[in-house]
Subunit: 262 residues, 2 copies
DNA sequence: CAGTGGTCTAGACCACCGG
DNA sequence: CGGTGGTCTAGACCACTGA
């Protein structure tokens, strides 16, 4: 163990920068420089209080900055640790290609296979409900009620994504799409069997901080944003046949797309 | 002005939930219900101290939660306000279509026009430099040095995006691409004139909390993540001719993509 | 048990804003 | 100037962890 003074400098009393920011800066720099590596424990609050000669709240303020940046996380009774970067799932632009469906794989499984992690789905709920204004706009204004399929995806035991699919009742009611298990290839395979040959998808992407309920559902650490993705599936007749609203833990994903140059 | 007790409830001393979380919950709910609207001033710390009968630090802790969620922002000497949602730029999947280039418009201008806001570019820097390992990987391992074009984009005076384009020297050196102003249609138009007919782009998207320097450059409020986008442009020969590394204020953007179903 | 972080208090002084 | 948020102190008690 290297001594603290050799890793962290002193404070600059002449600086305009608040003391707790200076402390946060020094800790951040130490992390960036690799003096503290992923998973390492930072000095305890008491140690920093002594090293810098400040009060405990000042040290805690510093930690709170780093937590907000997603750099560290605190574990009650143990310490404050450099947050390890979790393995990310790369979503490729061909993830909805028909050849995958024809192999009986859903998009999530295809990706999980590629990342060779253990995929799981839970908290499945399938019910009919009233369409929100936004969903109605996307599925066509005549669509008032929809079939909603909610599920949460886990990778290696960690929840990474919460998604709800909305389908018009005239398409989905009474079909296997309305069953908890939609069968091989997922609901997209069923839609095609029902005569809705898929033509393309549109995806809208936003990023923002999670709501408290999203923090809970995805067990998000402090300083982890979510990616909010809204996908609409269109059949060859030009009809929107499904809208999928997905909230993903941003630290678990890299999305990838191809754009035409023409 | 409605009185505080009619908007905010009391505390539940029997609850396990920390007092400052309960206060944050009540404020959040009041905002969600529309009791406080965008731009509205929340009760001052002193008012909440009195209303709840807690110490000031407890109230400030509540505010700090809401700030972390991006719901409110504090203005020194004025108060704490519900953060207004800024206008967003929608990036369409056809934003690099050749027809736009042929009209002499760069992608940013095309989008800004659509949003009818005042676009601006500043802090332009064009220089040759050593390619980072990642850039080198993307442009082809033989590419060691690159032309880097850095610029910041503003919309209605607000910085929303900071981007760096990297191009292999054998393509860009001595051309108009190496000039501060690359001419009508931007560097993609120049690349095509130089014989690199563009075929497609690949975009990689991540979301995360900003670094301190990104906070500064983009003047980000607390609780605003960034979207990190890395785009690679390929010519019809299959060569990567440009990599563009972009960091965007997440609250200013909605990205939109089309995916094939085949 | 000792060490850790989590919560909370009751003050203090400061910097900024608007009238 | 009074009111606002920004910073900081010096304590207190609690809950959780691991030996």
């Amino acid at each position: 163990m290297t001594s603290l003074p050799s890793i962290l400098g002193g404070l600059d009393p002449t600086s305009d920068r608040a003391v707790f920011r200076q402390i946060a800066d020094q800790l951040r720099e130490a992390i960036d420089r690799g003096r503290f590596k992923e998973g390492d424990k930072l000095p305890s609050e008491a140690e920093l209080v002594e090293h810098y000669g400040v009060s405990r709240m000042t040290v805690r303020n510093s930690f709170s900055i780093l937590q907000g940046e997603g750099l560290v996380h605190a574990e009650h009774g143990k310490g404050v640790f450099v947050r390890p970067r979790p393995p990310v799932r790369r979503l490729a632009s061909d993830r909805f290609a028909r050849r995958h469906r024809e192999q009986g794989k859903s998009a999530f499984i295809v990706e999980a296979d590629a990342a060779s992690s253990q995929p799981k789905v839970d908290s499945l709920e399938v019910k009919e409900e009233k369409a929100s204004q936004d969903i109605s706009n996307r599925l066509g204004d005549s669509v008032r009620r929809v079939l909603a399929r909610r599920r949460r995806y886990l990778l290696d035991g960690r929840p990474v994504e919460f998604a709800t699919s909305y389908l018009p009742l005239d398409i989905a009611r009474g079909t296997q799409i309305a069953e908890p298990n939609p069968g091989p290839g997922g609901i997209y395979a069923r839609l095609e069997e029902l005569g809705h040959q898929l033509d393309h998808f549109e995806e809208e992407i936003r990023a923002r901080m999670p709501s408290p309920s999203e923090v809970k559902t995805l067990q998000l650490a402090a300083g982890v944003p979510v990616i909010h993705l809204i996908r609409t599936a269109f059949d060859t007749a030009g009809r929107a046949v499904e809208v999928c609203d997905t909230v993903m833990a941003a630290d678990a994903y890299v999305l990838s797309y191809q754009l035409p140059a023409t």
